[in-house]
Chain length 319, copies 2
């Protein structure tokens, strides 16, 4: 098992990314990491680090795509960008997955152009695991990749989420719900009311109807489907609220309770991009070593459970 | 000043609503409350309570609209429902505002059919104040009334939000932003990219561009505009997250830090319905006495600052 790590993307690159890679090597017995980035930067960072050199390889990439660049333009101009080189390693079979904390748009564009979409999938969604009261997280899909969606796309998201829930999280018959502004049938905007009808007619899917925003945390559904605009705004609002609350509590108590760690996006995370012919794991731009290590662990889970085959099988069920 | 309070709607009716009314009477020196509900229920609840009877009147309404009823059907069938009777008091000039913790849909429908829309307004939005790092809250508009919106509606929301920010919160030149999936110009879905263009061309409005979900708490904008589907999902997700975090922290520390009180929707709140010819304040269905009292206080602020005239003046600026 080989995982390519884009060492140049994200707020804390390359230091925390490298630390995350070494943490992963120390915690897991098998698997190799291929660091992709500027050779001299990587060499300098690695000097003095203690790691199993048999399990760490370096691949040079001379360029970096910055967060504020247009993904399509950057991809065209920067052929030797770290995310491009890393994604190509997957395409060529030299790596089994790519992990990045860099520009999500650039990572998506690289996945689309280099790895390609699965048949019938227009644009790949991102699935994010949200901590819940249950033993398993709630999967929110699409978490931000597709801002305008048609009903059939949301149905595809449900199928892809199901593949991930079953294949990687081992949830046998995941409860699939539609994120909506009320639970009752008939509630919703044009998109969700139409999606409801199609989801209800799908075979081999445990569609439980509408759920509301608050149910993300309530363990009432395993997979909650929404358009990527709503998913993006939602996740960022929750992030902002967690920071706001943490600041208030720190002022009050002098410390931040560890309950916040479950919501700290610098420490948790790693969100698979689904519906593409290869494994690409999106990490938060502010990821620290714990989040990078978690992202690598998710990549390993996806590889070990053959998430690609799981998705193809699930998409064949679309009706 | 007279405020009609629908005493029969909400999870904690009538007890907490009555307690909220009495709390308001004790805290504010002027103004009268008209309790609207079933006469015998109100009389029984009032016996033994200590209050200034000069400032509390009762109006009988024999029916109640339940949370799960279709608003339009309920309004047609239940002519003597408390929210209908209370809204009619405003229409007839016997009250200056109505406050309810009952079905938001029924309250909106009553406002639309009995009070009517302001000219040019299709459907009234709800404005919600979100606590922020700043000295003033961030106003989110529409918080859930209109699930499918056209760009011009979002521009109207911006205007109505501006009237509320200026007229009631005394923010001289409020920063108006569009809720989006990224800050850069050009980001967004069909709705937000089109709205951006219209907002940019509006005169006499301090449009600062796009803001993201996390900025709700960051005091970067005073008014954040979105469609009601996004607003509804967002608010409920934040509510769910606050409860999830509070439960985790209570387990950890044995107590819930008071920082949570700023986000406790049973204690805060009162969200004006804008764009209608009358003042109607929506309170959360789970409101307790503190939230009811806060809702009454917001009604009083809207009356004292003549929010209706402020809105009409602002709508005249639409270009």
């Amino acid at each position: 098992m080989k995982i390519a790590l884009d060492l140049m993307g994200g707020d804390n690159a390359p230091k925390e990314l490298l630390a995350g890679a070494i943490k992963w090597l120390n915690e897991y017995d098998t698997g190799q990491i291929i660091l992709v980035g500027q050779q001299e930067v990587m060499a300098a960072e690695l000097s003095g680090c203690s790691y199993d050199s048999q399990r760490l390889a370096l691949v040079n990439a001379s360029q970096v795509i910055e967060m504020d660049e247009s993904p399509a333009t950057a991809l065209r101009k920067k052929k030797d960008a770290s995310i491009v080189v890393a994604t190509k390693l997957v395409k060529e079979g030299r790596a089994d997955a790519v992990v990045s904390c860099g520009s999500t748009g650039a990572q998506m564009a690289a996945a689309l152009f280099i790895l390609g979409r699965m048949e019938g999938i227009e644009r790949p969604p991102i699935v994010v695991a949200i901590p819940s009261r249950g033993s398993q997280p709630t999967l929110l899909i699409d978490a931000g990749a597709n801002v305008d969606c048609r009903p059939l796309q949301l149905v595809q998201f449900a199928r892809l989420g199901r593949a991930y829930a079953r294949g990687v999280l081992n949830i046998e018959n995941p409860r699939v719900a539609l994120l909506n502004n009320g639970e009752e049938e008939g509630k919703g905007n044009n998109l969700t009311t139409q999606t409801y009808e199609i989801l209800r007619q799908q075979k081999n899917i445990n569609f439980i109807g509408n759920l509301e925003g608050r149910d993300l945390f309530n363990d009432r559904g395993d997979i909650i489907v929404c358009d990527g605009f709503t998913g993006n705004v939602l996740l960022k609002a929750m992030e902002g609220m967690a920071m706001f609350l943490a600041a208030g509590i720190k002022q009050e108590l002098g410390t931040i309770p560890s309950a916040f760690a479950r919501l700290d996006y610098t420490q948790i995370g790693g969100a698979p991009l689904l519906g593409i012919n290869g494994i690409s794991i999106v990490c938060h731009g502010s990821s620290r070593r714990e989040a990078v290590c978690a992202g690598l662990a998710i990549a390993a889970e996806c590889i070990n459970n053959n998430i690609i085959a799981q998705q193809l099988q699930e998409l064949a069920e679309l009706s």
